[in-house]
């Protein structure tokens, strides 16, 4: 009985507390950088597209709202021919970002993306691709991967020995 009265009193005291509500949109909330908002595709430190079209974001997506097609440039660097996110299906779970092995796909603190027309929520690669590296500044997948691409030959990646000379006889 006493506890009930104490509860009532405690709750009543809340009358004089400061309110936690942020009055959006007059007042803009401060959103942490790892907020899961609008998805973007970032570029590497050298300005080249980070996405290598590995399809892992697409398969991780629980609502199957990511679709892409891989293609390659003449030097064997793989990138997406198209990259489409249907934001009208997206649940902003961030699984795509977790699955991405190259930090290409990232969720941003932007959440103001309402539309009157659902079709306008289908974002293509040109809508998604930004010109910077996003949250992760220095990572470049192709610099660590063993694959040779234009401007990076075999053995030139990080932590790699020069290519083996198959005809060499040295032990």
């Amino acid at each position: 009985m006493l506890s009930i009265l104490r509860t009532l009193w405690t709750v009543l005291l809340h009358t004089f507390r400061k309110r936690a509500t942020v009055l959006y949109p007059e007042e803009k909330p401060s959103i942490p950088p790892r907020w899961r908002g609008r998805i973007i595709l970032s570029r590497g430190p050298d300005g080249a597209e980070r996405c290598v079209a590995c399809y892992l974001c697409a398969v991780a997506c629980p609502v199957d709202c990511i679709s892409l097609q891989a293609t390659e440039d003449e030097h064997g660097r793989r990138y997406p021919e198209f990259f489409r996110i249907n934001f009208s299906r997206c649940i902003f779970c961030g699984f795509c970002e977790e699955a991405c092995p190259t930090y290409a796909i990232q969720l941003t603190p932007d959440f103001e993306m309402c539309e009157y027309n659902r079709q306008s929520l289908v974002y293509e690669k040109e809508d998604l691709l930004i010109s910077g590296p996003g949250k992760y500044h220095d990572y470049d997948f192709y610099r660590v991967a063993g694959l040779a691409i234009g401007g990076k030959d075999k053995g030139q990646a990080e932590n790699e020995e020069p290519p083996v000379d198959v005809r060499g006889l040295m032990p």
Binding site: V52, A53, C54, Y55, L56, A58, V59, C61, V63, D64, C65, I66, S67, L68, Q69, A70, T71, E72, R78, R84, I85, N86, S88, R89, P101, T102, R118, Q119, L121, V122, E124, F141, V144, A145, G146, L147, A148, K154, G155, N159, E160, E161, P162, P163, V164, V166, R167, G168, P171
Partner: protein
């Protein structure tokens, strides 16, 4: 049977197998790399370590390699032993030391055996601080992509390429940690089975280059069980589709037909489905002689309706590359008397002869696994490497059968591959070849004879006579040949499972008769001889069983005015007869309707062209060279107005307005009608479950459960996702929802099991690893040898070949890449196709005054060709070879024929 104890539980296994084989067959997850069910054990990778105990009191045990340890009765092992686990984890860690960090851009990712095994052993973090070894890659031709960094040195590739498939231009180089698998220099991989490296390699060193051009992951492919259409063997395949394009073909295991492997034509020929020559909308000429215009299906059918009015005289020309159901639909539409097989007279005669021999003769047509198990083989007139590559691959295994006895004598188990090969050295079993010119299979042959078809037939008759004096003798044989015939007869007569191979390759009935005589003589001696006939196309035998007139008869009927309208089903008649005869058909027929999927001369000439679906867009049944009816299923729904041939024919039948005995509401109705019309096709219905088949009330999904992008794939067109298409013709669905477990063997759309994402998941679909699929192999054999056959031999051997003055006998020379109609439209195959040429031996060439590279004019009664000369020393005098199906307008079916040769202008 033997009882072995795994982690103290008893299991029954086959005595003499190795432990890895036994464990995997029992369903255990034991990691491995170098072992392959078709290539057995070498113990190279050290991954399948288990702990073996002496007896139940032994607690210490010792680590052994499961693949190198026989499963003897009472063997006690532990898979879960902590030490064995640690050993396997450490081994993977070592293998991964130099494995590059590139799974995201590796085509094997998601179906990688190395990934699966790494996850299975629990290794996840590279602890070494040292640098990674790198390798330069090689350009290996249009089929295979090379990325040597990923190699884990399991040696599977060389073992397959050199030991299994007999390739020479691929090997392992260098030493210690730098071993390199590739060619001695960059260049196209020559072997016809190089594509299997993609599936054999446990990681991404060898990947499918054609898939790379439009790469998607395994989990995004819509797949269905299908059958290869590029030769008569009917290998089981699994084509995969996404975005409306066929993206790749993978092997679908069938223990009796193709086993684990495919030839490169079958694997890479699929691209014709996507080619620009596809007919995607109906076309017709609005005015006679006018140009084709693309029209809607309704308008085209309206045009057809005008031609099919009551009383119209319609004939139908079927096709050996169309399914049984489509051919039967055409036959029902036009009536049995007006149905023609679409094969040339020559081909049809031979197919009928072969069918007759198989149905009435004593010899059983062997499956590919039977062929591989034969211990003495005689091939008459077939260049198998090019006309039926998988038979050649099987024969390469068959020559090991007799020497295998040596290994057995030394108590080496069959699965101990390296030891068996060491014991055998270069011993080869008896394989005799008799062909017009040298073939690749001669590398492993005991003896190869080159001669004109008549001479090949004479040799065959002589062999039969040697085996059974009652068989007709051959007059005037040279002593040298007689002694060869004696040797062949001796070896065949001594063998336990002899085999005779022949076929359409020589276009010579006498050769086939000779083969039949040999098999008959062997049967008389009590030998269960097999008789394998090679046929050219995927349903040649099926339409041979169905019957119907030849193409020449169809042309004659048209010229007699019996055809107001000709319906040509999936057939390019310009490939089957000479241009002049084909033109006669178009001249005589009032109107020609062509139902086909690729632009060809027939469709160009036809008045109305209806877009048919390819094998990947339709279902049906093919009968392979062995007489096995195999069902293939639709992989994807084609875009535009492409429709299954039988549906076009159903529309036509509806347009006639005549009352019909049976309704064709689905493919199954057509199959049932077919079974009703022909007793021989009764088995067709049992080749696969019917459309109403369900697994616990559910259909079998064509898409894997991880299929991605459903809500975004078509979102650029409309954000509202369309309903997946229905499939009324099969128990498979075009969706990712459905039964998740193992379906009946004929309906397996892909291999996947928990923890096994690579093709090696197949282990879980087999009753025993390398053995039957669960529930038995798919397909039904329609032909079994007659129980009561006449002890009658085929008549007389032909006279010896005699060359003519100024004229050469033109033989068709088959090429694995280029000779077949459909695959030659695939880009990668086209890159490997030869350019037109004429082959002569050096003596004949100098007689004509040309040498290699010079030009020769070939004069036929109604055509002439200018062709460069290729010197082929093995060709007999007076015989010239032209590549089959490659020289435009020179149809393979028209050959052999006599032609005059002249030194060409500018040659």
């Amino acid at each position: 049977m033997a009882t072995i104890y795994i982690d103290n539980k008893p299991y029954e296994v086959k005595e003499g197998d190795n432990l890895l084989h036994a464990c995997l067959s029992l369903g255990f997850d034991l990691p491995y790399f170098c072992w392959h069910p078709a290539m057995n054990s070498v113990g190279a990778c050290r991954q399948c370590a288990v702990k073996q105990f002496r007896d139940e009191n032994d607690t210490h045990g010792k680590i052994v390699m499961a693949c190198m340890t026989p499963a003897a009765d009472g063997t006690r092992i532990s898979i879960d032993d902590p030490e064995a686990n640690a050993f396997r984890a450490a081994n993977i860690e070592w293998l991964m030391l130099n494995h590059p960090h590139d799974c995201p851009v590796c085509d094997e990712g998601g179906e990688c055996h190395l990934q699966d095994m790494t996850v299975m052993t629990g290794h996840s973090y590279r602890r070494t601080r040292f640098k990674k070894r790198t390798h330069r890659n090689q350009h290996l031709g249009p089929f295979i992509n090379h990325e040597m960094n990923r190699c884990i040195q399991c040696y599977r590739c060389v073992r397959f390429y050199r030991d299994y498939a007999g390739g020479r231009d691929f090997n392992v180089f260098a030493c210690h940690h730098a071993v390199y698998f590739g060619r001695h220099e960059e260049g196209v991989l020559e072997n016809e089975f190089s594509g299997n490296l993609v599936e054999v390699c446990p990681t991404g060193v060898f990947t499918d280059k054609t898939l790379k051009q439009h790469y998607v992951r395994k989990w995004d492919l819509q797949t269905a069980p299908s059958v290869c259409v590029h030769c008569g063997i009917g290998c089981n395949i699994m084509p995969g589709e996404r975005h409306g394009d066929l993206l790749r073909v993978q092997n679908r295991f069938h223990s009796e037909v193709n086993g684990y492997f495919l030839c490169d034509r079958g694997r890479y020929g699929y691209d014709f489905v996507n080619c620009n020559d596809r007919i995607r909308r109906p076309r017709l000429r609005r005015a006679t002689g006018g140009a084709h215009v693309s029209v809607a299906a309704e308008e085209a059918l309206e045009g057809v309706a005008n031609l099919l009015h009551f009383g119209a005289r319609v004939i139908g020309i079927g096709s050996p590359r169309a399914s049984l159901e489509a051919n039967f639909a055409l036959r029902s539409l036009v009536g049995p008397d007006n149905f023609f097989t679409g094969m040339s007279e020559k081909d049809l005669l031979m197919v009928r002869l072969m069918v007759d021999i198989l149905v009435k003769g004593p010899a059983r047509s062997p499956s590919l696994s039977d062929i591989a198990g034969s211990d003495a083989v005689f091939v008459l007139g077939e260049d198998l490497t090019n006309s039926a590559p998988m038979i050649a691959l099987a024969l390469r295994q068959s020559v090991r059968q007799r020497p295998m006895a040596l290994a057995k004598k030394m108590h080496i188990p069959n699965w101990n591959d390296a030891a068996v090969r060491e014991a055998m050295q270069n011993e080869k079993g008896p394989l005799f070849l008799a062909t017009p010119c040298a073939t690749k299979l001669e590398e492993v042959a005991a003896h190869a004879y080159h001669g004109a078809p008549d001479d090949i037939a004479r040799l065959g008759f002589a062999v039969a006579h040697e085996l059974d004096p009652e068989a007709p003798a051959v007059e005037g044989m040279a002593e040298q040949l007689m002694s060869l015939a004696r040797v062949i007869a001796g070896d065949l007569g001594m063998a336990e499972r002899p085999l005779v191979v022949s076929g359409q390759g020589c276009s010579c009935a006498a050769v086939i008769e000779a083969a039949a005589n040999i098999s008959r003589a062997l049967h008389k001696k009590g030998k269960p001889a097999g008789l394998c006939f090679v046929v050219e196309e995927c349903n040649t035998l099926g339409i041979g069983l169905m019957g119907g007139g030849s193409l020449e008869q169809a042309i004659a009927a048209a010229r007699k005015g019996k055809a107001d309208t000709v319906i040509i089903l999936e057939n390019d008649i310009f490939r089957r007869t000479d241009a002049a005869s084909a033109e006669k058909l178009f001249a005589a027929a009032g109107e020609v309707i062509s139902i086909d999927h690729l632009q060809n001369e027939t469709t160009v000439r036809a008045g109305i062209v209806l877009p048919a679906s390819t094998f990947a867009e339709t279902g049906g049944t093919f009968v392979n060279n062995e007489g096995r009816a195999q069902r293939f299923f639709q992989v994807f729904v084609p875009e535009d107005e492409v429709m299954e041939s039988w549906k076009w024919l159903r529309h036509m039948r509806d347009l006639t307005g005549l009352p019909q005995a049976e309704e064709w509401s689905g493919l199954d109705d057509l199959t049932s009608a077919l079974c009703g019309a022909y007793p021989v096709f009764t088995g067709v219905k049992e080749a696969a479950p019917q459309a109403d088949f369900r697994m616990i009330g559910r259909k079998i999904p064509r898409q894997p459960h991880r299929y991605s992008g459903r809500t975004a794939l078509l979102a650029d067109i409309s954000v509202h996702e369309p309903k997946p298409p229905d499939d009324h013709d099969s128990p498979l669905s075009f969706s990712m929802e459905g039964y998740e477990g193992i379906p009946p063997s004929a309906l397996i759309p892909r291999y996947w099991a928990g923890g096994w994402n690579s093709v090696q998941a197949l282990n879980k679909f087999q009753e025993e690893v390398g053995g039957l699929l669960r529930g038995g192999n798919p397909g039904r054999r329609l032909i079994e040898p007659g129980k009561e056959y006449q002890e009658k031999y085929f008549g007389r051997a032909p006279g010896p070949f005699s060359r003519r003055q100024g004229e050469w006998l033109l033989m068709p020379l088959y090429h694995i890449f280029g000779s077949e109609e459909l695959s030659s439209r695939a880009q990668a195959i086209a890159e490997r196709s030869p350019v037109p040429y004429i082959a002569l031996n050096a003596k004949d060439a100098s007689e004509l005054g040309v040498d290699g590279g010079g030009m020769i004019r070939l004069l036929l009664p109604d055509a002439s060709y200018l062709l460069p000369v290729r010197i082929t020393p093995s060709l007999p005098d007076g015989v010239a070879g032209v590549p089959a199906g490659i020289v435009p307008h020179l149809s393979g079916s028209g050959l052999p024929a006599w032609g005059r040769l002249k030194k060409g202008e500018g040659g």
